[in-house]
């Protein structure tokens, strides 16, 4: 009996010591006056920039991740969270505004706003620049391994080429993948025509036997490791992949691409608007924007940062394409037919 008590005591003491060291090793700062909760995409920020922010303002940053806009929306809508800054994409921002889930940002507090290029202001999802500050932008295209693919990759049809059976990755993201099918068929990726959407669904279901996996961020690693011949990808991820494996190339298909923008917003659930605005301003500082862009490989809307970028990257047509000759569409909010979209996506994912 006493033996057992002793064992438990030792056990609990060990556990207590462990948790204390873990807590201390976690680097929690003493005496911080406030904290903010940031909700962002995976691998979408340079962590050292966060640390600099914490040091400069004494505000601790708690960080949470999401992998798709839909996942972010569900979490936000479910309630019970108190995120201060979120980084959604264009169509999602439009939806959040429509559903009155965002607070207006006091642009006068964002002194670095002037550095954002005009092409990235007053966009269709936030025409009066009241709710968002652009963070990164890009296109959607195909990343392929030049040692495994010897024909020109210029059309979305390549992802349906039976020659590459089980050598194709697709993104586990509703809008993105359905958009690819729509673009392949020549339709608008903002179509509300149910017949067109059903056709896109059939295309994706037809494609399933050729697809190795529907994935997320792990695809980057896999492509770098040569696990597959090609994947649909965002331009920023493409830049990262090409950086790590020189056999990889990025192509924007002739049917067109999805031009997308990610921006920082402040949800209504935020309890610390002031700190949130400071954070947004910090991210828009040219030096920080530069560091983020360099670290994650995405294209920055920050003109001042752009000037400081490595010339090689600035001239890289994959990362910074020629906007005039680009055939592209920006996603619009389709939440009024979200039921149709959800159903279609469920059926695509459930089929084999």
């Amino acid at each position: 009996m006493r033996e057992i008590k002793k064992t438990i005591a030792i056990f609990l003491i060990l556990a207590a010591i462990f948790s204390l060291t873990a807590c201390g090793g976690g680097g929690s700062k003493q005496g911080t006056s406030s904290t903010i909760m940031v909700f962002n995409w995976v691998d979408y920020i340079d962590e050292s920039v966060l640390e600099d922010f914490e040091e400069e303002y004494g505000i601790k940053v708690n960080y949470d991740y999401f992998t798709t806009n839909e996942e972010m929306y569900v979490k936000l809508k479910a309630g019970g969270t108190s995120y201060d800054v979120i980084f959604p994409s264009d169509y999602m921002i439009a939806r959040l505004v429509k559903e009155d889930l965002l607070q207006k940002i006091d642009i006068s507090k964002i002194t670095n706003f002037e550095h954002i290029g005009d092409t990235f202001k007053s966009l269709n999802y936030d025409p009066d620049n009241e709710y968002s500050v652009a963070y990164m932008w890009g296109t959607t295209g195909i990343v392929y391994n030049t040692t495994m693919v010897d024909e020109p990759v210029d059309s979305w049809n390549m992802l349906w080429n039976p020659k590459y059976e089980k050598n194709i990755f697709m993104l586990d993201s509703q809008r993105d993948s359905i958009a690819v099918a729509l673009m392949k068929l020549g339709y608008s990726l903002n179509t509300r025509d149910e017949a067109e959407l059903q056709e896109a669904k059939q295309e994706l279901i037809k494609q399933r036997p050729l697809v190795l996996s529907y994935g997320g961020d792990e695809i980057k690693d896999k492509m770098i490791g040569g696990e597959a011949a090609m994947t649909m990808a965002w331009s920023g991820d493409a830049a990262y992949m090409r950086w790590k494996n020189e056999d990889l190339a990025y192509a924007i298909p002739k049917e067109g691409t999805n031009l997308w923008f990610d921006a920082m917003v402040i949800p209504k659930t935020s309890r610390n608007k002031e700190a949130a605005e400071k954070f947004i301003n910090f991210m828009t500082d040219p030096d920080n924007a530069l560091r983020n862009a360099e670290y994650i490989g995405y294209s920055t809307p920050n003109l001042a940062a752009l000037e400081m970028l490595d010339e090689e990257i600035r001239n890289d047509k994959a990362a910074y394409p020629d906007m005039d000759s680009l055939k592209s569409e920006v996603c619009e909010d389709l939440s009024d037919i979200i039921g149709v979209y959800n159903r279609i996506w469920d059926e695509i994912k459930a089929s084999q």
Binding site: V74, K166, Y214, W345, D346, K349, A350, S351, Q352
Partner: protein, 274 residues
Amino acid sequence: MKKKWLASPYIVWMIIFIVVPVFLVLFYSVAEQTEDGWRLTADHFRRFVDPIYINVLIRSVVLALVSTVICLLLGYPMAAILASKEYSRKKIMYLLIVMPMWMNFLLRTYAWMTLLERNGVINSILSLLNLPAIDILYTNKAVVLGMVYNFLPFMILPIYSVLSKIDDSVIEAAQDLGGNNVTVFRRVVLPLSLPGVISGITMVFMPAVTTFVISRLLGGGQFMLIGNLIEQQFLSSGDWGFGSALSVIMMLLILASMGAMSRYEQENGGGALW
């Protein structure tokens, strides 16, 4: 010792955290929100009755059954050998079987992710030996492999537990009465081990049919099992109605399997894990 009022705090707890949640799920599964409020609907369940989703259910059950059978085929001989007289260090054997169970379930699944890659460890070794490469990551074989790997100890342990408790004299008596090894096994050992087998089957089939981690990580989103479908509804599509209906269906599936199992258990006195 008539202190049944002592249970009341816990009963309150159970009502809040066990009963109410289940009722909420039941409610969401048959209700739909319209502009004027809630109304009852069978739409969510009706949506399930679609070949695509029935296939998901069938797929889950089939994969789980296959994994269970493989676990049984691999685990029974293992348990039998370990329980036999040759292995006297029972304590160590027990620990060796138990230890993988103590390792984090996700880490064990993750281990296979790295092993099964096209350019992973297994293929590297195979190519060194001039053997053909295997390409099973993101196939249903990988999912079954993941299930078997994770749940095999759960099959071995109860069977081993029951077998090692069989009194030697029972075996000796059967042998004295003229039974050869096969007969002794078939008519004495096997029936006695049945409670352990039932335990093992339950402890493998149930988590196998409801998992979503293994199919997500090793199946690469290619094999939507019913667990994945439920997860997608709650965390991506936001369709709580459909998700709840699916959860209810899953609960019924499990209760049915348990009902079938418990019939055997009652007849044989129940097999425990420890």
